[in-house]
Symmetry: C2
């Protein structure tokens, strides 16, 4: 009942694998972790033994011994929002097959809640953390720094050199929308935004700056509430009362634009006849709504995929070529503008 004992669960242990392979336990351990100092002959013996027994390592034991788990934490500002789901799924698809557990933390657009999550999740000694954006508390930064955990930042890009990020330029996306609406001959342009996180704000800045460059003043209606279809209708109505002459609107998120389209339809306002709409994110519905919505297609899935691969590279201790991966975006012009 000592060396070759199976686990409480009945599954075989590393000791059994080692015995079957005729090597020491530690050699078996190294072989299965692909430590390069192991003789290929022994390594393949170990792998065979492992397969024969149906060995599955115990993550808890591994974590305890190495002081580092096989878990990657992903912190996103929201789940309800369709937005991050595709990114999360892509991350899962990359990391799960490699044996990593993915833990999702939702900080509800709150820096404090994010800090709390970081604090809690550090207890499980994750081997890496995927973060959304760069806007976090000092304490959060210090915690991450102090624990020396590889971090990859998603959705935004930064000029900072020692930081890994995967995303696209929010400002530039806003600017592209501005230029598109100007090219359509629109001159009374507005930015309608909700859920004012840094990305929404940077998007709006890009938009306004591009307009200013063309000598056009930007109208703006921004509220901190969460983005939703219902809110989109409301904001459109409010904007229209305040500026009846508006002829082009950039919504910070497609769902706002969808709501606005419905509201316009109810009020008998022609889109794009009287006012052109441009959304952001290109949600699936945007290609089908009447009128089809012009939008910025964002590489949400690719952000997840690349961020996860970047994390794998960091975890492997390999050299990272590009610390900053710009995946770009695409303006998809449809009927609404």
């Amino acid at each position: 009942m000592r060396k070759e004992a199976s686990r409480a669960t009945g599954r075989p242990t590393l000791a059994e694998v080692a015995q079957l392979a005729g090597v020491s336990q530690i050699t078996a351990s190294r072989a299965l972790r692909d430590v390069p100092t192991v003789d290929p002959v022994l390594a393949s013996k170990v792998r065979e033994a492992s397969k024969a027994l149906g060995y599955v390592p115990n993550p808890a034991a591994r974590t305890l011994a190495s002081a580092r788990s096989q878990s990657v934490v992903v912190l996103v500002p929201a789940l309800s929002n369709q937005l991050f789901i595709e990114t999360l799924e892509a991350i899962h698809n990359v990391l799960r097959p490699r044996g990593y557990d993915v833990l999702i933390g939702n900080f509800h657009y709150s820096r404090e809640e994010e800090e709390e999550l970081i604090r809690n999740y550090l207890a499980i000694q994750p081997c890496g953390i995927l973060l959304t954006g760069f806007d976090r508390t000092e304490v959060s930064l210090r915690l991450l720094e102090a624990n020396k955990i590889p971090c990859v930042h998603m959705m935004e890009l930064t000029k900072a050199e020692d930081v890994f990020s995967v995303g696209f330029s929010q400002e530039e996306a806003g600017a592209v929308v501005a230029r598109h609406l100007l090219a359509r001959g629109r001159r009374r342009l507005a930015y309608v935004a909700a859920q004012l996180d840094t990305r929404v704000i940077r998007r709006g800045e890009g938009f306004k700056r591009a307009l200013a460059a063309a000598g056009v003043e930007a109208l703006e209606l921004a509220v901190p509430d969460p983005s939703s279809v219902g809110l989109g209708g409301e904001l459109f109505d409010r904007l229209l009362r305040r500026h009846p002459d508006v002829d082009g609107i950039f919504f910070c998120n497609d769902d706002l634009a969808h709501g606005a389209i419905f509201e316009a339809q109810r009020q008998g306002i022609s889109v794009p006849g009287r006012v052109a709409f441009v959304g952001f994110n290109d949600l699936p519905m945007s290609a089908h709504i009447v009128p089809r919505l012009t939008s910025i297609h964002t590489p949400r899935e690719d952000v997840g995929k690349h961020a996860a691969h970047l994390m794998l590279t960091l975890l492997a201790g390999a050299e990272v070529r590009d610390r900053k991966i710009d995946l770009g975006f695409e303006l998809v012009v449809r009927e609404s503008s």
Copy 2:
């Protein structure tokens, strides 16, 4: 460097807490786990010491020693689908504050993939599993059985006695839709479905059975492809060609109905004038689309909440009153019917 050593991470260990509280390590362990055999005086001393040191238990050590982790696995058939997000979020909101980690597995509507996930996730010795529905492979069932892991089933209900489930009657929901459309005077009724999982099928059966009871024959158009807005438009078009006299359609999911509304709008077909639409799930958009969509509001968030609480009860080893929690559903009648 033995008993009172801090962890590699620098955080204090249970031994330090015990020393500060002047008790043995095991007593400290019991106090912090609320084992009832501990003197309340000692227990509060331990809690104070713990707080003073900022002690955070090491989950890996706990898992290794107890052969059971603090993780709850949740298996859902899809993430991309807005549907399960609210449920997942509710589960998170209940379990995270209690110190449980929530691991999400997406089996993409594949029984085999679910089996694979179960096999993999069992390695982390989860303390409980939340499952979607009852349709899984024999091997999956055996694995769950053999590992004696508490299971809670979501979204559907079963007559089986020894099973925990939280959901609502899919059949009854379908029947309610049928009766609603009949009450509106519609007689050429169709069920349009995609992603034919057991829930979608049961829904349709309830619908057709209720129609049959009224002597009305049900039309049907069902495809296995994933549900989407685009597909909804397509299916509506196809149905209309095949049965131009259809005057009422029950879509198995709101997004299909949304797509159909857009397609109807493009073809100049009046909804509900010529054909009434009823969706399922009552997604946020349904209250705003033109025309507003009649739908079955499903208690997705509540399912998550109740399932998580049921799991907590099971984990606490407490008595469970109701093994079957029927949360019902609500027909929300809007403009489309």
